[in-house]
C-alpha cells in the first residue's frame, strides 16, 4: 500500500518526532512518503520527504497514493497547510490534540483572509446557538476570547472541523474516540501513543544519588498556566517541610506566556528562603535527557488536559520514575499502577501523594518499574498495526463517506437543510443502502 503521510517535520515539533518514529515502523509494511510544508531543517528520517505548497502540482501526485494520513495538532504554523490539503483530498486524520480551536480560530481570524462569519457559523453548526453566541461575543470583544480559557475551549473544541471530510480518525485517547463515535459516522480508533523504542533503549533506570540528598522533581513542557507549575510552587511554599527535601526543576519553552513566567519567578524569589526551584527554559534533547535521568519524580499536574496524549509522558514512563498527575483526560486511561493519580484539581491530595513518594524510595522504585513496563508495552509496532487496520477500514468506508459529503455539499450550496423534505429523502436513501 502506498501511503502519503502529512506531518510537520520541524525539529521543534513533537508531532514530527512522532511521525518519524511511527513511519519508520510503518515502512516495514507499506510504501510511505512524508509530505511536508515546513522549511528545513527537518528531523532526520530514512523515508522520502516530499515538500509541497498549496499551489504545487506535486499535490496531483496524491492520486497515485492508496491512502493519505493527516496529522493534526492545535498549532497553526504547523498544521494550516495540512488542513488545506485534507479538505480536497480526504484521508485518515490522526488527532493529536483534544482541541483544535486555536488552529481554526487562527486560520479564520488572523492573516489576510478573515472569515469572521465562518467562525460563527461553524460554532453554531457544532455547538448550536450557544456556540454561535460565544463566537459572536468573542469577536465583538464583549467577553474574554473563548480560546483563552482552557476549561471553556474544551467545551468548544472544533476538532470536528478537522475531521469533516475524513475517511477515518485516530485518537490517542479512548474518551475522545467515544466522543467522536457519538457524532461521526466513519471508522474511529483509539491507539496508545507509542513510547519510542530508541527512547526505551537509551534509558538507564538508575540514577546517581544526589550529593545533597534532595529528591529531584521535574516538570517538562511549554510553561503556561495549564501546566499548573505555579500551583505546584504554591503548594511547596505552603509546605516548608516538604519543600526543604526537594529540588523542583521546570523545563520547557517559556516565551509564550511571559507575564505568567515573570509572576512565577517573582513568587519563587519571594520565597527563596524555603524554595529550591529553578526555571530552565527550553533545553536541547541531550540536556533534557540528562535532566530526566537525574529526576526522581516527574510532576505532570496539567489541568485541564488538552492533549490527546503525550509523547513526553511516554518518555517519562520509559525513565522508570513515578509520574504524579491528575485523574483527567488520557492520564485517566493509562493502566492502574502506571501513574500516581489524584483527583483532578486536588492539590491537597497532590501534596500528600508527593510526600509519600519523597518519603519512600522503595515506593518510588516500584512505581518506576511499573511505569517502565507500561511504556514498553506501548510499542511502535502495535501502533503501526492498529493504524494499518484503521486505514483499511477507512478505505472501505471512503466511497460512502465521500458520497455523503458530496451530496451534502450540493444540498448546502442550494441552501437545503432539514426543513426541506429532500433532505430526509436523501438521508433515508443513504441509510437504507449504505452501511457504516
Amino acid at each position: 500500500m502506498k501511503i502519503a503521510w502529512f506531518t510537520p517535520l520541524s525539529r521543534r515539533s513533537a508531532i514530527g518526532e512522532f511521525s518519524v518514529h511511527v513511519t519508520a515502523e510503518l515502512a516495514r509494511f507499506a510504501d510511505v512518503e512524508l509530505w511536508v510544508a515546513d522549511e528545513p531543517p527537518f528531523l532526520r528520517t530514512q523515508l522520502p520527504v516530499v515538500t509541497y505548497s498549496q499551489e504545487s502540482h506535486e499535490l496531483d501526485r496524491l492520486g497515485e497514493r492508496d491512502a493519505i494520513v493527516y496529522n493534526l495538532g492545535d498549532y497553526l504554523p504547523f498544521h494550516r497547510d495540512i488542513v488545506a490539503v485534507s479538505r480536497n483530498r480526504p484521508g485518515v486524520v490522526i488527532l493529536h490534540d483534544r482541541v483544535l480551536h486555536h488552529l481554526f480560530a487562527g486560520m479564520w481570524l488572523t492573516g489576510a483572509d478573515l472569515k469572521h462569519q465562518l467562525y460563527v457559523d461553524r460554532m453554531r453548526a457544532y455547538y448550536g446557538e450557544s456556540g454561535a453566541e460565544v463566537a459572536r461575543a468573542t469577536l465583538e470583544g464583549q467577553r474574554q476570547p473563548v480560546w483563552e480559557s482552557d476549561e471553556e475551549v474544551l467545551r468548544y473544541p472544533l476538532y470536528e472541523e478537522g475531521i469533516l471530510t475524513a475517511h477515518g480518525v485516530v485518537t490517542h485517547s479512548e474518551s475522545q474516540a467515544r466522543d467522536i463515535r457519538a457524532r461521526w459516522l466513519g471508522p474511529v480508533r483509539a491507539l496508545h501513543l507509542p513510547c519510542y523504542s530508541d527512547v526505551l533503549r537509551r534509558v538507564d533506570g538508575t540514577r546517581p544519588r544526589d550529593p545533597d540528598g534532595l529528591v529531584q522533581l521535574l516538570s517538562v513542557g511549554h510553561v503556561n498556566p495549564n501546566k499548573q507549575a505555579h500551583r505546584v510552587v504554591e503548594m511547596l511554599a505552603a509546605d516548608p517541610d516538604l519543600a526543604a527535601r526537594v529540588r523542583y526543576t521546570i523545563v520547557g519553552p517559556n516565551d509564550d506566556f511571559k507575564a505568567y513566567v515573570n509572576d512565577l519567578r517573582r513568587f519563587i524569589a519571594r520565597h527563596a528562603d524555603r524554595l529550591n526551584v529553578e526555571i530552565l527554559g527550553w533545553q536541547p534533547e541531550e540536556e533534557l535527557d540528562r535532566l530526566m535521568a537525574q529526576t526522581d519524580i516527574f510532576v505532570n499536574l496539567r489541568h485541564p488536559v488538552m492533549e490527546g496524549s503525550s509523547a513526553s509522558l511516554m518518555k517519562q514512563l520509559a525513565y522508570a520514575r513515578p509520574v504524579l498527575c491528575f485523574e483527567s483526560g488520557f492520564f485517566g486511561e493509562l493502566p492502574e499502577g502506571a501513574l500516581i493519580r489524584v483527583a483532578a484539581g486536588d492539590f491537597a491530595a497532590a501534596d500528600q501523594a508527593l510526600r509519600d513518594l519523597v518519603d519512600n524510595p522503595g515506593l518510588r522504585r516500584r512505581m518506576g518499574e511499573q511505569a517502565h513496563a507500561v511504556a514498553a508495552s506501548y510499542d511502535e509496532q502495535s501502533y503501526a498495526e492498529g493504524l494499518l487496520s484503521l486505514i483499511e477500514e477507512s478505505r472501505h468506508a471512503a466511497p460512502a463517506l465521500d458520497f455523503l459529503n458530496s451530496v451534502a455539499r450540493q444540498l448546502g450550496q442550494m441552501c437545503v437543510d432539514g426543513m426541506l423534505p429532500t433532505f430526509d429523502e436523501v438521508a433515508n436513501d443513504f441509510a437504507r443502502v449504505l452501511s457504516f
Partner: protein, 343 residues
C-alpha cells in the same frame, strides 16, 4: 462534435421547448455534428419536488459528449465542463412571477426556502457555464436582473422558412394563435369596432377552452362585427396558415408579455407588417414602430394603424419589405445559431 441538447422532460408533454430541441437536433446534424437530445425529468408539483430535481440534475453524468447545450431549469444544472446555455427561461415562478398569482410556490417558510434554493442554485451553478445565449432579450434582461449574469440574444429561427411567401396584400388582417385570454384576440375585435376602412379580421386557432371561444364570439356579437371578423376556431394546418399569411394585408398579434413568439417571425418571412401592443413582450424585440410594423398603445391606436395600412398600399409594401429585411439584418438564421452554440 458530439453535442447533447439537454432539456427538461414532463412525460407526455410536448411544447415549444421540445420542438426547439428537435429543430436544433436536426439542424446540428445537417451541419455535420452528431447530436442527441437528453431529457431529464422535472416535476414541480408539489413544490418540494423542485429541489429533488435540482439535486437529480446535479448528480446526472453525461459521458461521451463533447459539448452540452442546455435549455431550461433545472436541466441546465447537469454538470459538464463544456456547457453552453441557449436559455428559454429560468424558473420564473421564483423570479418575476414571485409575488404574483402565478408564483406556484406557497408563501410558507418552506416555500420561501424552496425559492431560495432555486435562486442560490442558479447563482452558483450557472457560473459553470461557458457562454449564455437566450432566445430573447427579455429573457436575458431577467437573467441579468435576478442572477447578475450576462448573455447574448440568439433568436430561434423557423425550422424551414422556404414555404413562407407573400402573394398579395389583401383586405384582411390575420391573427393566428391559440384562442385564450393571454393571447387577447378580444382586443383585436374591439379595435375592429373603431376601424373605418373596409379591412377585415381573420382569427384562426384552437380555443383553449370552450369558454374562451364563447367569450370571443360574444365580443364580436356585442359590437355587431359578424361580417367583419371571421373566426376559424380550430387548429389550422401548416398549408392553411401559409395560405392565410400569403394573402393578408398584415398580421395582428397581441399576446400579453410573451417571451418570444414565432408568429412575428413567420409574418416577417411572409413579408407582412405586424401590428402589436406595447405590452406584448417578445414581439417588441423584432418590431420597430413605423418601419416593419406598429406598436400601439391601445385598441383605438391599433384601429388607426389598421386603417392606415388598408388605405395606403405603398406604405404596406414598404413595411412588408422592411419586415422581410429585418430577418437578415438581425441574422436570425440557423447558420448563426449553430455557429454560436458550437463555437
Amino acid at each position: 462534435m458530439k453535442i447533447a441538447i439537454v432539456n427538461n422532460q414532463a412525460p407526455f408533454v410536448r411544447g415549444g421547448a421540445e420542438l426547439l430541441a428537435e429543430w436544433l437536433h436536426d439542424k446540428l446534424e445537417e451541419y455535420g455534428h452528431q447530436a442527441e437530445i437528453v431529457r431529464i425529468p422535472f416535476q414541480w408539483s408539489p413544490p418540494e419536488r423542485i429541489v429533488d430535481h435540482m439535486l437529480a440534475a446535479r448528480l446526472v453524468r453525461v459521458a461521451n459528449v463533447d459539448r452540452v447545450v442546455a435549455l431550461k431549469f433545472p436541466a441546465y444544472y447537469v454538470p459538464h465542463e463544456n456547457k453552453v446555455l441557449w436559455l428559454l427561461h429560468q424558473f420564473r415562478q421564483a423570479y418575476d412571477l414571485w409575488g404574483t398569482p402565478y408564483q406556484d410556490i406557497p408563501n410558507t417558510p418552506m416555500g420561501i426556502r424552496i425559492r431560495e434554493a432555486v435562486v442560490e442554485g442558479d447563482r452558483r451553478y450557472l457560473q459553470e457555464v461557458r457562454r449564455i445565449y437566450t432566445i430573447s432579450k427579455i429573457v436575458g434582461n431577467r437573467l441579468n436582473l435576478y442572477s447578475g449574469l450576462k448573455s447574448k440574444a440568439l433568436f430561434p429561427p423557423l425550422l424551414d422558412s422556404e414555404p413562407y411567401r407573400c402573394e398579395e396584400y389583401g383586405d384582411y388582417f390575420f391573427f393566428p394563435s391559440r384562442i385564450n385570454a393571454g393571447k387577447r384576440q378580444h382586443l383585436a375585435v374591439e379595435a375592429m369596432a373603431y376601424v373605418t376602412s373596409s379591412a377585415r379580421l381573420v382569427i384562426a386557432g384552437q380555443p383553449e377552452t370552450p369558454t374562451d371561444l364563447g367569450r370571443l364570439m360574444s365580443v364580436i356579437r356585442e359590437h355587431g362585427l359578424e361580417s367583419r371578423v371571421e373566426v376559424i376556431p380550430r387548429w389550422i394546418t401548416e398549408e392553411e396558415k401559409l395560405c392565410l399569411l400569403a394573402g393578408a394585408r398584415g398580421v395582428v398579434y397581441l399576446p400579453f408579455d410573451e417571451d418570444y413568439g414565432y408568429v412575428t417571425l413567420e409574418a416577417f418571412h411572409a413579408s407582412k407588417p405586424v401590428l402589436t401592443l406595447t405590452d406584448a413582450g417578445g414581439p417588441l424585440e423584432l418590431i420597430e414602430h413605423g418601419r416593419n410594423g406598429f406598436i400601439c398603445e391601445g385598441t383605438e391606436m391599433l384601429a388607426k394603424a389598421i386603417d392606415e395600412l388598408s388605405e395606403d398600399r405603398a406604405l404596406t409594401e414598404r413595411l412588408g419589405q422592411a419586415a422581410l429585411d429585418t430577418i437578415n439584418e438581425r441574422d436570425i438564421s440557423w447558420d448563426r445559431v449553430i455557429r454560436c452554440l458550437t463555437q
